[in-house]
């Protein structure tokens, strides 16, 4: 998805704000330059919310959503209907409007995905898959999604980053992973003395199944 000539996100934000202002202050058709092409947005009489700030915001969201991890390629395809619903409710954009806006699905889907691979590799190499956690959180969030709740993959990636940064920045992780100052060592030792749990019995082996017949 992320194309080799990805648009800086601040620019998108600026466009959104300008577009929103223009929409509110002018009766003229709205013009947005997107992907190098002027896109004219006609306000319709029946729907004067077409270019409202929240709507523009939605478009930016959609754009960024697609740019983040094409990321997560197949997942996006699978959930494309969900995404459309998510960002195009009754008073929001439909697919045709998105196209009119110059959101070129084909172009977005092609191109260089290597940064995402780098993200993944970076997270994997980090070897700190827990609280430092882009890795584990990304993993966890995406699998929360696959457990039945559709989840915007872009949000998952970003959220995991924000999680990690916040944890580290706030020092919550350091506090949690330093000493447990609230734990009473003597009491814990007494408790552990009474815990008689044996190592678990294991199951029998030797049973053949199709999966292990190789």
């Amino acid at each position: 998805m992320v194309t080799s000539r990805s648009v800086p996100i601040p620019q998108l934000e600026q466009e959104a704000d300008q577009a929103a202002q223009q929409a509110l202050s002018s009766d003229e058709p709205l013009v947005v330059n997107r992907m190098g092409t002027d896109v004219h947005i006609q306000r319709s009489a029946s729907d004067d919310g077409l270019a409202s700030p929240s709507r523009i915001r939605k478009i930016v969201s959609e754009e960024i959503e697609k740019r983040v991890p094409e990321a997560v390629d197949k997942r996006l395809e699978q959930r494309s209907e969900n995404l459309e619903e998510m960002f195009s409710g009754s008073d929001e954009l439909d697919e045709a409007t998105l196209e009119e806006f110059g959101v070129d699905i084909d172009e977005l889907e092609g191109g260089d995905t290597s940064w995402f691979e780098r993200l993944r590799d970076g997270a994997t190499n980090e070897r700190t898959a827990v609280t430092a956690g882009v890795g584990a959180t990304l993993a966890a969030l995406t699998t929360v999604a696959s457990a039945g709740v559709p989840l915007a993959a872009g949000a998952a990636v970003a959220a995991s980053g924000s999680f990690a940064s916040s944890m580290l920045g706030k020092g919550a992780a350091d506090a949690a992973l330093g000493e447990d100052g609230n734990l009473t060592q003597a009491e814990l030792a007494t408790i552990v003395e009474t815990v008689k749990r044996e190592l678990q019995e294991s199951d029998g082996t030797g049973e053949l199944s199709e999966e292990v017949d190789y």
Partner: protein, 336 residues
Amino acid sequence: MDAEIKKETNNGFGVTVFDNNGVKHKVGVLYNGEISGHLQSGYPDDPSKRSQEEHEWVNQTRRFAKFYVYRQQGYETVDPLSNPDRIATAAMAIANLPPDTFEAHFGEFYQQLRHDAGEAAPVVEVPDLPPTTVPRVEQDIYLGLEETDTAAILERLIDDGTLEAVVNAAMEESEDGGLVNRIRQTVADQEIDMTDTAAAVSEGVIEAVGPVTIRWANGADDEEVAQSVARTLPDRDPQARPQMFGRAYQFDDLEDLRQSLVRHLCCQVRDCYITMGIAPPEDVRIQGPGFYDHLGWYSNHDFYQNYHDPEASITDWQEQHTPDDAYDFSGLVESA
């Protein structure tokens, strides 16, 4: 441990695992986590003829095979309450919850722990138990993220610049310092305050908590008594279950609990990896009580070191048994 997926059928995978004792296993892991078959020639097939150590090598093998399929292929094969990613997510969410939400979720858990220490009225009446019994206080945590919450979170991440910072950090050519450090640096440079974002994400991720529950060991089994709650809980397994002893902690307030709870869950994450026979990620190479069962495993046997004991001297995190792909999670982002 060393694993390789050798075969896929209509129902699951055939995984070859070399355990930490050098024994080769063929394990059939079905998509739902069930073990369909298990061949090995290092130990008696009849479990009653196995030693404690042999039991644990077999168990480690199955745990690691399930984890490997989960991480490499994205199937829900890890036992409920034993998925280190989910437990870590719960810990991170708890660390970032706004104080009032934290109290709403865990205020009664806190009260029960204080009761356990003789300092508060109980949420759940603990029955009279033999003096050698140690009741523990538990509460299930359900993770989830609604579609609408996801959209709202995305908006927020755009608004405060987080998304841009993360994407830029990820796209940097530099390999220096690792991804997380780059994200941190970018965020710091741009003076983005993540506090609100993290709180919002945390609130979204914790979908529900179960009733405060007291459990205690009766022989090899557990007995329990639970708080009755009016709320409806998700119809699925919870992802995390703290198990704490009130009298082992001295809390002045809820924030003290929060710190110990996050740490306790991180100790559970550590236990997940240790009992798969591999090293925990560096951030959770920490000591303290995690899973209740594992207290006994660690303290009663030489098979494992005393990871539960904050004062023990740990010399082995099992790094030498940890394969290069132990932390790879490519299956989670590539598969459905």
